[in-house]
Subunit: 330 residues, 3 copies
């Protein structure tokens, strides 16, 4: 007899069914995603960048918050898996006619969509949808509030593994607006699950949530000190539009203390790589020539992002198919 | 020698070429649509929900009126038939540059689109377009003004047949804002063509157009009385945005007299089914637990709607292909 | 050893890599496009209008300026070549979050898009992008400022060749708002490269740029005189929204002097054809019955436009593929 696990992301056999957050995923599942993505990275280099794994499946992008860039990466990943893609702008859909979110979900389920890619401004939205969705639908979190942006964290892990290899040897700094970042929290979970040697969080005191200290990380407010010996520098985007008034003095002062300049980069390990989720604010959190320099792997992150999203989608669909094949034979 | 029939929906062999309204369709054609849809309902259950019937065809969704939900069902139906789909928001297209509607149509024809799915706020718009379109293009009416919404009516017929079987044994009540409903008129035509035993229209006096009395229906203003012995209850959506001022006292009073509650449902036949075109206004025309209850088939209507739209599209395209095959051999 | 040619549109073997303007293209390349389009015109007549030439390729439509009609023709062309298509409205994309245009391009390159179709309000935008894009990406200019609209000019050449044959025998009049037309300049380059017997520009003095006189054309301000013996009449759209105040007296007076009426058409050769890029302003630059008459080939232009865009896309992609095949074997 099999017990239903507490983790809503996994099915009763412990396979990834929904991809909501890094929290709660084992090192095995994270490595399964990375290994699968490595296969797809090859597909994306070929002249014909298409595999038939999701042929005849329908993927609906449910974006409650506009993000052309993120939506584009998921749309490309789904199309390269041969899925049919529906883009539904949830701000203008029938929710504005008084239909509740759950009614909208029930309708998309009834249209036999196979997967919802969800982007929402509220933390926990993707979890809420996963808890309420029909069994045949997979949920992928494409960013919810400040909470989580797990495919971004996974593509970061893929990039680190690709360029630097074994996590247990690596010192990694995550730098910037930790408070308002959907990504930082997911990165910390992923890095600690993968056994990174050291995780350093670098941030002004006003932009670091108190609970982060308990995650087995080292906290720095002095960027220069934090760079000593680091192999990977992950810069965060300064979410100007999210900050309330007085948390920061000015963009100039922020850049002086937390901007990644050429001089500062010299304090890290000689072969350190520079990462950023994009789009970069040049002259605010990173110097232009560092973003474009030979230590930067920012564009490779984008490329690997397609492969990682293809991996997450195909793993989740495959778990559901195996479950329904089993249940239809029992 | 073959005479051109008066009904613009049919070709010279009496086959369905445009799908504009239920009015004027024979029982044979309605049953052909239902039987074809039954085949596609199976396709939508499969892991690969795709058939190649419209491969290489271009379907253009011409929506003069926004309806994410209806557009999505047609887009899914076309993609599952392997068509290429163009979504054209006619409010922002070159009609605003002073191009007339007919110029726009001529251009889409010249781009060798094969089918236009038309949604328009004016009654008769789809007919007007069908009268003026090139012979190689099929028109599907996705709702025009108060006039007609024939694919919705067909999916309702499919749902009734699926759950209740033979129409000649059935008493069916259609309840609510008959005046402003595109659907009610189409439903009455379909049900009477299919030989339903009894069609009961239930509505406040202010929301029932006078001409409806002539359609072989029974008119009720007392919902409780109308429910006696009915097998199928079709609730209509209260189109709040369409009503002018003083037709209704208040949503509360409407619900008290015409809302489908658990108590009221008990007055119908024991195995009566509850239908609604969605999205529901819970607490206005239907109680939430009735909409979600075991007698409700509201979500099955949505599922069957994809199959019915696939059926209408493939039947219409097939008539055109047979005509052009014949004319190219003559 | 092969020298990199000065013309950015060509690769090091002289093959078409980007399609930016007619200027600088040889008669051989223009004829290659026309001949390839002739093949695709046949595809668009078939029941299955699809060829697998761009299967697994990703085409991104980057529209900085809205043009539903032009975007639709490129989207259809790409889909009929079996490409995956991304429509990116550049006005609402992350450029509004402060991302620069080049950052956006770098990201789309990193997502392994194969082709950008660019529409921009500024002259030279497509050239700028071609100069800065990664080597694996092809750029197609879908109209930039007043500068160039080369696929429109090519479909005009295709239409003329289809109906009238050898350019060296043809007298062609281009009539209207030459100043504000993206098309006229491209047409003049194409016609003179193809060796047209006579190119006549017909325009009010205020709407004819001075430099045009140097292009080997004849300039007319009297439309009637210009029509004598012409085989092809290309009417331009009066870009009302682009004109500044006092260049024109009134639409009525414009029509009286430069509108193509039935009477005026009688002054041209008996078998002259009438062309217009659409959408037409009936009663401003052309009489309705002339636009719809048997001498008009306006709708055929639209049809041939799909084939011409398929030709340009497939030729450009094929140059890039041959280059990368060669470089991967060297």
């Amino acid at each position: 007899m099999i017990n239903k696990p507490a983790n809503i992301q996994l099915d009763e056999h412990g396979r990834l069914k929904h991809f909501l957050s890094i929290e709660g995923l084992s090192r095995e599942i994270i490595n399964q995603i990375l290994d699968t993505a490595a296969g797809f990275a090859g597909v994306n280099d070929k002249a014909i960048k298409k595999v038939p794994l999701l042929r005849g499946k329908t993927v609906a992008n449910l974006f409650f918050e506009t993000s052309t860039r993120t939506r584009t990466t998921f749309e490309l990943a789904a199309k390269r898996l041969s899925a049919d893609v529906l883009n539904i702008n949830m701000n203008t859909s029938s929710t504005s006619k008084g239909e509740t979110l759950l009614d909208t979900l029930r309708n998309l389920e009834a249209m036999q969509c196979d997967m919802f890619v969800v982007r929402h401004q509220d933390s926990g939205a993707a979890h809420f949808i996963a808890e309420n969705v029909a069994p045949h639908v997979n949920i992928i979190n494409a960013g919810d509030g400040r909470h989580s942006h797990p495919t971004q964290a996974m593509l970061d892990m893929f990039t680190i593994r690709h360029f630097k290899g074994d996590f247990e040897k690596l010192r990694i700094a995550i730098v910037g607006d930790i408070s308002h970042s959907r990504v930082a929290r997911s990165q910390v979970h992923a890095l600690s699950t993968l056994g990174a040697r050291e995780i350093r969080l670098v941030s002004p005191k006003t932009l670091l949530p108190a609970e982060m200290a308990s995650f087995g990380v080292e906290v720095f407010h002095d960027f220069d000190a934090a760079l000593d010996g680091v192999d990977v520098i992950i810069m965060l985007r300064l979410q100007k539009e999210r900050m309330r008034g007085a948390l920061l003095p000015s963009a100039d002062e922020y850049y002086a203390r937390y901007g990644l300049t050429t001089e500062r980069l010299a304090l890290a390990a000689d072969d350190a790589i520079v990462m950023h989720p994009g789009p970069t604010n040049r002259g605010v959190e990173i110097e232009g020539i560092v973003a474009d320099g030979h230590r930067s792997v920012i564009l490779q992150q984008v490329t690997f992002g397609i492969a990682v999203r293809m991996a997450v989608m195909s793993i989740a669909i495959s778990a559901t198919e195996q479950s329904s094949a089993r249940s239809s034979h029992s």
